[in-house]
Symmetry: D2
Subunit: 340 residues, 4 copies
């Protein structure tokens, strides 16, 4: 922790901060510059309320040095984690591909999508049964009935099932049917939910919140890891920026940055990350070239009629073409795409 | 709904969209411009999946015309709502002031804060018992014991209690102790939680998510209203932008914009909205000048020692001065501040 | 300057950085933590290329401690600067009000606006003669003819003239007619233009770029001050964020933050800062309550017919009402508004 | 143009808008919905001040339908433009690679970089002689002497020269030495400069401003095209967002989006787009996979000693490896990379 004093700070202010730092069990190293004094506080800086020092007289700013997460860090586990859940393998050169409709709408819709994405090379099936919808008037999902249809689609195709859980109370139920529990972007900081999936035996796909920093995202993963569940995949699905031609801005530099700091695999969601069908194929290819460990893509038999997210879904033909393009990139980089 | 066709759209594309719109029970009005055709779809546009039309051939963009919320709108209720909860009144010229520590830390801390904010003119006491913390290693709150301390502080001071609920399963318990349930920014789109507080008899303070649009925020309020709870206060607490000198950017233009569209009162949180003690007094005054219906301010007996948010908390003296400044502005605008 | 080493950095990496820092004339203080080493580099850190150290082996991050600007800082000049230009005084409790049309369109339009804003209490007249327009097909301004009309309006009303200069080659010409040279937001980092107005005898109103950090903005001011012109006013006119209900997001916390760091006065532009006529009155009041040293407001005889920015302009009656509201706030804070 | 009336708009308000629209030569089509009326205004909507209608009584919002640019659009020129400048070809499957130091610092530095990037397969040399620097105290470039060194590097290697022009008055001088004039991000809306390069016989690389919308960027290109210079390349170099782990956020979805709307080629700058050496290789590959027509990359003999931008520069070995990775991707997509 670096505590930057104001240039107007008195000797007394500096002394008070030093004592406060040492009272918390850290070692204080004051460094007196020509214009300002900074105090380096050495030791465990992940202490409750340490940044409250900023409100002390003479303090200008408190800057953290250490990453606030531990279990998720490369320092604790240097080698990359590989997450396996049924037919899905993600990490270490295996680029998992999760595809399927935004919402489970009917048996026919789901099963046809499952067969189509399997044929095109996907390694897992996505589909929402519990839907967190912006409006109370929107379709809210088929709930347990949807979970049953997902299980049926797995029976027919062998594809692992990825589906969202939106409430701590549902985590057990969803764990009975699903292979991977998805935490949606809006729930990334729903800590009771993170604790609940931390106790589940299923793998977790943790989406980044649209305004979450990388540290906040890795701390959300830390809640799950700390709860005892080591099978966490991170999913970048775009951040909210001033850009309006895409629904979110998909920052692919996240991939390399995060992979350097954490051992958890990183999955990219080009569907939410762009919000437009037409932009999904090129951003899928780009994600793989950027080094992503997986993709999650919305595919629907008839996007124009989808009850949710049709504007960003691929139809079966578009998904096949997208997979063909991705396969070229994966192959150029000596990676395996989907269920090859 | 306005559907903008591409300039390359064929007659067949246009015809297909028209039929699709009419099949959903809306009336289609095609308008053929010199470069493009647009189709105005008249009728109830809050229909599942209508924006999925964007994935149809020849469609460039689908633009909504109607606000997606109803119960929250001025069109359904033209006069402003006034929310009352014990000693707190918010709306119609009554500027409610909610003040107190970020977290309940101990009886002494809370009770001294309660007396101090009451003396300075606050109309309600805030304090977190269930804390949603970014890191699993941070102080997570005193939970039910904290709620009991809040109730005791109310007994001693008469101040209404505002406290956060973070999980649907806790809504009933918190409702037993609190006068106002706070939905934190990170839970603004935790829809199961919104439904739970929609069933509570307590008033709700709904914070805006740091990357939520105004429509998303009002739709979150709509979940609560639609659940049967009419006592909703909106709380702007800052959005996430590129600006780093403040922790969030507090957009006060929200006040007038939102007040024109909704009858719900708007409370401003200058503590989270700036993230720095030194900026709270001037932004409190500015909020009132902008027409806010209330303020929520973090106050702690000794901010430098606070277990959370000390960097943005006021001490008792700073809070008194802030209230004095705010009172001048409120008075100039013929409004009543806090418990006058 | 704090240089944070990676936890994987070798002793050799640390030694190399220390040598590099000392070779540049700074003193290096290595501080060895349990997880990482940080090196505090003490001395003049405003040196070309010092942050290039980040590309050296073992370096994770380079963090600045000192503000990068000098002449603009409170450390060099503790007392606030007051800028005076003809009828306009800005600073130290004098809230200057600059009002008038976005563009000079005709003699009648300009002169009627000048009389109206003077009558309502404005202290200076704004009006663009050289217009930087997003589209080459938009009205580009009346150029020198517009400057002559501005001079005429000054003759008739006594109001000081504020007008934009968009090219270094025009700075002398505009200085002949204007009392204050405005640098528009899009030109905030047009350094040749900043140098040109740094040589002018006229005061300068420097708008913040919509994505400029505070440091970048103050460094732009530093170019002008360093060029020999001490009469600089900063103007916050909103930043670009994900928020779309306003054209820009107006962060009033800028006022107190900047006033603590610089002696230059801060003017707020609620017209560009909101982009909507209806939001200008409340944000004008809020700006004053936040402590702004001045306002710049777009006023047009008939906004619906304006050749530019009509959507955010006030008509004469709206401006009068806005001034009445602002006067109440200014008076509550013992400040003088406009040409009182 | 779609004019959305408020639900409270009177018949008179609607009628007034219709008359105003028709007085400007457009045809008005009012469409009366159950809750609101919208008026479609058909005709040339790129008219001065049309959006000023928003300030008229009863008007809620004015939405544009047509793209505001023409010469840059695919509608005017359906086939992609290929820009050629000496050794550089950009577009139609030719991925141009522009590489070299941020600033020209010395003959040795520049010439060694030129030989190194040529050997690795670059098709052009970049290097700044006129530098727009955030701080007046930073190295400002070698100016004309730098241009001479660039010309010498071209003589020795045959590489086309790309260099920035920062002031309208310098455009002619720079055109004498350079093959491609670069407009930096900070000058994207410096319209006098755009006009100056519009008159130059040299090709132009137009960087996107860090908070510019796509429309604003294409309108900046329109200024150059409208000035008579058809050889414009667009360069995406990242936008400013809340994300701080990268200096800017590089939105690669821009590539496909822009290529659908304009015939101008799109070049990606992964150096500024990430701000960190370690992220440049993966984002270079991703850019090509996303369909970029070119890359511009900062390369320096010794980044740790660079006078500017060392933190995001590659050394020669890193550049060679980056090119090798890019070549694999380009080859998988049947494109030609650099000077193959």
């Amino acid at each position: 922790m670096i505590i930057v004093m104001k240039s107007s700070a008195s000797e007394q202010d500096i002394e008070t901060v030093i004592q406060d730092v040492e009272a918390r069990g850290l070692k204080a190293h004051p460094i007196r510059g020509t214009e300002r004094t900074v105090i380096a506080a050495v030791g465990e800086e992940r202490i409750a309320g340490l940044n409250s020092l900023e409100s002390c007289p003479g303090v200008d700013e408190v800057m953290s040095i250490l990453a606030p997460y531990k279990l998720a860090s490369r320092e604790v586990q240097p080698e990359q984690s590989v997450v396996r859940a049924g037919s899905l393998t993600v990490g270490n050169g295996n680029i998992g591909v999760i595809a399927g409709p935004c919402s489970v709408e009917s048996e026919e819709q789901l099963v046809s999508a499952a067969h189509a994405v399997k044929k095109a090379g996907a390694s897992a099936l996505r589909g929402g049964a519990f839907k967190p919808r912006t409006s109370p008037y929107s379709f809210q999902g088929m709930k347990e009935e949807g979970l049953k249809l997902l299980a049926e689609a797995r029976d027919q195709t062998g594809l692992a099932i990825v589906t969202e859980v939106v409430s701590p109370g549902d985590a057990e139920l969803v764990s009975e049917y699903a292979d991977v529990l998805q935490i949606g972007a809006r729930n990334m900081q729903n800590y009771r939910l993170l604790e609940a999936v931390g106790r589940s035996p299923r793998a977790v796909l943790l989406k980044r919140g649209p305004s979450a920093t990388i540290d906040e995202w890795l701390l959300a993963a830390e809640y799950i890891l700390d709860g005892g569940n080591p099978n966490v995949m991170l999913c970048e699905r775009g951040i909210r920026t001033f850009e309006t031609h895409t629904r979110f801005t998909l920052p692919l530099a996240t991939v390399a940055y995060v992979q350097e700091r954490t051992h958890l695999p990183v999955v990219i969601d080009p569907s939410h990350g762009t919000g437009h069908t037409a932009l999904v194929p090129s951003m899928s290819r780009a994600a793989i070239a950027a080094g992503a460990d997986g993709l999650i893509i919305e595919v629907h038999p008839d996007p124009g009629k989808a009850l949710s997210d049709g504007y960003q879904s691929l139809n079966f033909e578009q998904f096949e073409e997208t997979m063909a393009g991705c396969r070229k990139i994966a192959s150029a980089l000596d990676c395996t795409l989907g269920a090859e």
